[in-house]
């Protein structure tokens, strides 16, 4: 085995980081602007297949007649406070004969506790005149999260497409002082 040879699973790490950061995209950021809410929300976990099985904290997302499970997930995620995920660890197996990887990833996530929604809506009835500090997220403590993904093997060649067959998102640790209710 030559030293230059790459492990075929090498591209999975950037794929996972991209997946996690897609959950953390902010609507009002200096770098990205979205023409409308829809074009923003459809960025979340966009590598999900429309028919993906999605389970969050032990409850499956049920597709409706209008929305497939991917869209259901994106609509829900839009209502979550701004988040920040960090990949701690992952491991994966290519399952022979199926063309899929099973990925078990361990991460942490913190949420904006400033009381502002993703779209910048605030519950505050008193306005802060200092606009600059107004938009800064107030990060709470880290939650622990474990994510299981079943991903098409093609992810190692082009990670941009819809390759996720199932997403199982589970909080494994809840900080005591968190203002966010799960």
């Amino acid at each position: 085995m030559s030293h230059l040879q790459q492990d075929p699973t090498q591209p999975i790490e950037p794929f996972l980081k991209k997946f996690l950061s897609s959950l953390d995209i902010q609507y009002n950021s200096p770098t990205t602007q979205f023409p409308n809410v829809e074009s923003y929300a459809t960025q979340f976990a966009k590598s999900l297949k429309p028919s993906s099985a999605v389970i969050v904290n032990g409850t499956p997302l049920i597709p409706t007649t209008n929305n497939d499970s991917k869209l259901e997930f994106q609509k829900k995620w839009l209502q979550a406070p701004n988040s920040f995920h960090q990949l701690n660890s992952y491991d994966c197996h290519l399952i022979p004969g199926t063309g899929t990887f099973i990925i078990n990833l361990s991460a942490k996530v913190k949420f904006d506790e400033s009381g502002k929604s993703k779209l910048g809506e605030s519950a505050d009835l008193i306005q802060d005149n200092n606009a600059a500090r107004n938009n800064r997220p107030l990060w709470g403590s880290w939650f622990g999260v474990n994510i299981i993904l079943v991903v098409d093997e093609v992810v190692i060649n082009h990670s941009e497409g819809e390759v996720i067959n199932s997403l199982d998102y589970r909080f494994t640790f809840k900080p005591e002082d968190s203002v966010v209710k799960i």
């Binding site: 389970i55 969050v56 409850t59 406070p81 491991d91 899929t100 099973i102 009381g115 519950a123 494994t172």
Partner: protein, 618 residues
């Protein structure tokens, strides 16, 4: 794909015999344990009383006695009305020895110890656990405890600490002679309130001449869930004073500051606005400030809620998967703890296993002081860890996946021996199980924790030789400390021949021990839970045109559910369905089978013929 056709027999069948044995052993152990408990109770029957311990916590005092006097005081508790620390020692001799230690210095005070059943016990002196303040008592804790009792209103969970300095009794004890004694008074008060486990949502600290939070700073740590606070008519004059509590009272809803120079003398509207904004930053859930609504509460609650249904610990896609996975998990973990060689029947030539360590996963430091062993020593895992964010060499990335029985068993042997308390503490575990259509199999995901009980049977390979090697790296003789750990484990299980099961993929992730609030949120939440009784589960297929609902634990009567863990509820539902026994007999069967599903079926088969007719549902 060639998992099929190589099976060596069924998982269920081969293990029945073993389960049987295990359970017999367990039954014996139980009887034996009961005898031990009785003996223990009889032996530890001399009650003792301790005063002057309140310089530190009651646990610390008991630990101190254990270290210093070599006497174990068990079953200890603090009598809330007197502040007496009560506990038990084993023999009269020990009680007498302990009495000789009366007067020993502990946390700045002298411990005073008596036997509870002697005429000069503290309880008797105080008039039978009396609620009256003993005359001429110099004991700080008694005075403060009694003071707290008069100031706490349990029906509205209010602790009224208004104008404490005007309390005649406290004043006569010289509590407020100087700033330092005043501060000590509040410290002691909070400590005692914490030891008494007072359920407090509101605190009134008005009229206490406070100019900053220094004297009362432990309040936030004592009552982190505090919702209402009055600091009216004090001397607060600087906004900075509140920074001490920034994000420490995260559930504070209403704050009263009227009658403080900070707001009373303020006429500049910009400054007033600034004060409000800063206080809102310090207290993220503050809704009402001095009677003014400063946040839209409903909107705030919405924004600060994770928008998915409240966490539930168990998910099974359908009834078949429920049966398969509960069987699989309980048997697998039992054998994992008992003898991993017996699991090899589940693995085949193409089966894969690997283990990763996430040592930086968040966890609560000192989450459970009584489980002091919850360490973060991953020494037994790191050299085999396939955390692919850390392992870069191709050789290691490929080499750390065990493929086939032989390699997998070797990997298993290099992991510490464990105990999973699945049956006794099922709340420590959480499961999702769903179909894996690509292989006509199922995914079983388990989250939970285990206790390491012994070092690995086999030694793991030495770490990658790229770190510094020298006298600090002499890891050969150093064994990692055994402790509790948490884990996430994913199995892809596919059907084998004759109803057996084969594990195609097994991914184990090990992380620091964490308490399980993440999936037991419903029990702890103070606010009433939304009406989520009807958890949206997958709709079961209609049979013969008539929609049939498969019963779930949600259908069990509440009074039955109260006593059962989620996993026990699952088993009970299965037993009810399969045996057609009534509730009473089903529970009896489960209890007598130690909540082991397979044992239930065996016991049922053996005794079904002898059961009375009324044991069955009509």
């Amino acid at each position: 794909m060639s998992y099929r056709g190589r099976g060596r027999g069924g998982f269920h069948n081969q293990n029945n015999y073993r389960n049987n044995n295990n359970n017999n052993n367990q039954n014996n152990n139980n009887n034996y344990n009961q005898q031990n408990v009785d003996q223990f109770v009889n032996q530890n029957s001399i009650p003792v009383e301790i005063l002057g311990w309140n310089g530190a916590s009651s646990e610390e005092c008991i630990n101190f006695i254990s270290r210093k006097c070599k006497i174990v005081v068990s079953n200890f508790s603090v009598d809330p009305s007197t502040g007496i620390l009560k506990g038990y020692v084993k023999t009269q001799q020990q009680a007498n020895d302990l009495l000789n230690w009366s007067g020993v210095k502990f946390a700045g005070q002298s411990l005073r110890i008596t036997k509870a059943n002697s005429p000069d016990s503290f309880t008797n002196k105080m008039g039978g656990g009396g609620s009256q303040i003993p005359p001429n008592s110099n004991n700080t804790i008694e005075t403060i405890t009694n003071f707290l009792k008069t100031r706490y209103q349990p029906e509205i969970k209010l602790l009224n600490l208004a104008s404490v300095k005007s309390d005649h009794n406290l004043n006569s004890q010289g509590f407020f002679g100087s700033i330092s004694t005043t501060s000590k008074f509040f410290m002691a008060l909070m400590k005692i309130a914490k030891d008494l486990k007072l359920d407090v949502l509101s605190v009134d600290l008005s009229g206490n001449e406070l100019s900053d939070l220094a004297t009362i700073s432990p309040l936030a740590a004592t009552f982190p869930l505090l919702q209402n606070l009055s600091l009216q008519n004090n001397n607060f004059n600087r906004l900075k004073a509140f920074e001490t509590w920034r994000h420490k009272l995260n559930f504070l809803r209403e704050l009263l500051l009227g009658g403080n120079p900070l707001v009373a003398n303020q006429t500049n509207p910009i400054e007033i606005n600034n004060i409000k904004v800063e206080l809102m930053k310090s207290f993220p859930r503050l809704i009402v400030l001095d009677g003014e609504v400063i946040r839209n509460e409903e909107l705030l609650n919405n924004t600060l809620s994770f928008p998915f249904p409240a966490s539930v610990s168990m998910f099974f896609q359908d009834e078949e998967i429920r049966n398969m996975s509960t069987n699989f998990i309980s048997n697998y973990l039992k054998l994992w703890d008992a003898n991993r060689a017996d699991l090899m029947i589940l693995y085949q030539n193409e089966s894969q296993f690997s283990m990763q360590v996430d040592s930086s996963h968040p966890y609560l430091i000192d989450s459970n002081p009584s489980h002091y062993s919850s360490g973060t020593d991953f020494g037994n895992y790191l050299s085999n860890s396939r955390n692919l964010t850390r392992v870069s060499s191709v050789k290691a990335r490929l080499g750390r996946v065990a493929i086939g029985q032989e390699q997998i068993f070797k990997s298993f042997s290099q992991l510490p021996k464990t105990r999973h308390d699945l049956m006794t503490h099922p709340e420590l575990f959480s499961v999702e199980s769903y179909r894996f259509p690509q292989l006509n199999g199922i995914m079983i995901v388990i989250h939970g924790s285990f206790e390491e009980t012994a070092q690995p049977e086999a030694e793991a390979p030495q770490s990658v030789p790229n770190g510094p090697r020298g006298r600090f790296n002499n890891s050969k003789n150093k064994k990692a400390a055994l402790s509790k750990k948490s884990f996430d484990r994913t199995f892809v299980v596919i059907p084998g021949p004759n109803g057996s099961m084969i594990v195609a993929s097994d991914l184990l992730s090990v992380r620091p021990f964490a308490v399980t609030d993440a999936w037991n949120v419903a029990h702890k939440d103070a606010s009433p839970a939304p009406a989520n009784a009807a958890i949206p589960g997958p709709v079961p297929p209609a049979v013969g045109g008539v929609p049939q609902r498969v019963p779930t634990p949600a259908d069990l009567p509440a009074e039955v559910k109260v006593n059962l863990s989620p996993l026990q509820q699952e088993i009970l539902v299965k037993i009810l369905l399969e045996t057609k026994l009534n509730m009473q007999y089903s529970i009896m069967l489960c209890e007598q089978s130690n909540w082991d599903y397979q044992q239930c079926t065996i016991n049922f088969k053996n005794s079904a013929a002898t059961l009375p007719r009324e044991a069955f549902t009509a």
